[in-house]
Assembly symmetry: C2
Homo-oligomer: 281 residues x 2
């Protein structure tokens, strides 16, 4: 296992999470990252990219539901959705639960992610053959630059905000998203942990506010992401993501109307997040 960096210290997580591994089902390398699919007695199969757990069979639904459903339920009838990253298909699976969605673009630069997901995580990749999916394997920034339509939502399901994923967190990228979304669309991106990465959470909010009229922050409890108290950052030019516009799609295991209403960070805490120089709440 020495050359899979599963157990190496995460340079920006102060707790190292160590998992018992029963089997290594797959190891490989794409042009972009190292892959491992392993099994754990509790979590089942786990997808590990560059040594970081991306999701597990047992609890992937928290992240994938929360990435997709908050923005999409804030609209009456989302039709066009762009998922950047997320080649595994977990977010796409949730997006396509919305019956009004006509087109879901999947923009993951690394086609290996979808291949590995179909092979080892059939329940996560279950919607990867849906006819409404438009597979667009390319750089997310380049995709938005070349996109001449309008999207109802742009959802960024990338790896952590380091390395090549950083291009998805720049002012230029947010500007492209804003253009594609128009006045009524919503932008959602992962935004790391309120426990361990507060300066990064703040930086994403500040950058979003340069491109969008408003930025917001909601959270979800994710056991396998360092810091656990995980953030999703929102950019909007007018749409109110806080208000569900209709009943939840089914089935879900975590997302529900009450989660929608309670997942946003209270103003008292949001103001602390935004205090310059603050390292933790």
């Amino acid at each position: 296992m020495a050359d899979i960096r599963l157990f190496e210290k995460d340079p920006y997580a102060p707790i190292r999470y160590v998992y018992e591994i029963d089997q290594v089902l797959y190891r490989g390398k794409s042009a972009f990252q190292e892959f491992a699919v392993v099994t754990n007695p509790y979590f089942g199969r786990m997808l590990v990219l560059d040594g970081v757990v991306q999701f597990t069979e047992r609890d992937e639904f928290y992240y994938h539901e929360m990435m997709a459903h908050v923005a999409l339920h804030a609209m009456e009838s989302p039709r066009t959705v762009v998922v950047i990253g997320g080649g595994d298909g977990g977010v796409i699976r949730e997006v396509l639960k919305h019956p009004t969605v006509e087109k879901a673009y999947l923009v993951d630069i690394d086609t290996e992610v979808s291949r590995v997901s179909r092979e080892f995580f059939p329940t996560v990749g279950s919607a990867l053959s849906d006819p409404r999916l438009v597979d667009s394997p390319m750089d997310g920034a380049a995709f938005l630059d070349g996109f001449d339509g309008t999207a109802d939502a742009v959802l960024v399901d990338s790896t952590d905000i380091v390395g090549h994923a950083r291009s998805l967190f720049t002012p230029e990228f947010y500007e492209s998203a804003r253009r594609v979304l128009g006045d009524r669309g919503l932008f959602v991106t992962l935004s790391e942990s309120l426990h361990f990465h507060l300066p990064m959470v703040r930086e994403v909010q500040k950058t979003l506010k340069k491109a969008f009229k408003t930025a917001d922050l909601y959270t979800a409890p994710l056991a396998t992401y360092a810091g656990n108290w995980w953030c999703f950052a929102v950019g909007s030019n007018g749409a109110d993501i806080r208000k569900p516009a209709r009943k939840p799609v089914t089935p879900t295991r975590y997302y529900c109307a009450e989660v929608h209403q309670t997942c946003f960070l209270p103003r008292f805490l949001y103001d602390r997040v935004m205090e310059e120089g603050r390292e933790s709440l």
Copy 2:
């Protein structure tokens, strides 16, 4: 470090949390447990009992505030509060921020906890000399049995629900608490993680419902407790813990009116927690 069980596998947590340790400031043993005070570059000083991190200097406020303030803010004027366990003084510190509190009983069977806290965690143990505190170092169940007054709140800040702490999670103990609380008091106890200990969360709810008219569940994000998505279980005979009765005391770092309103588990998820046999949401 071999004889401090810091890094041993937690038998009921599927992820092992590993911390870098700079210094071991103290190691000792009481009649009840093994103590270690260590320092970590991120968390600062950490109190470790029987190999389990109890709190860290950096983030202790989440747990201590949430253990004390939800119940106490649901009352106009709490006067008498019983804290069982919690010898470190963290919960007592929060309780005594409420100006109406006249007496706070601290019932930790292990007097070493307070001694170590005063010495190594002065900001946590800062209220241990408050004149309103009544130090009652004895078994929590025996204390409640012999208590002939009425309390507004009983807060159980014990170690995990294993070993000698189990006596604080029995129907008999809850029955004693109910008697002491009368119709208007509130009972709060830790209740482990919604991610990793769902059957235990359910067991506590079911046991509480035998003694109290209603049981409830609220959560907080705790980075150093296995599973992180931590629960507090509530027993009530009529008082409504969900409604803050007045403005928050100050200062707090996490608790606020909006946290109070959003920390309770949504009914959709609560119903899943209570499904017999369910191992995770």
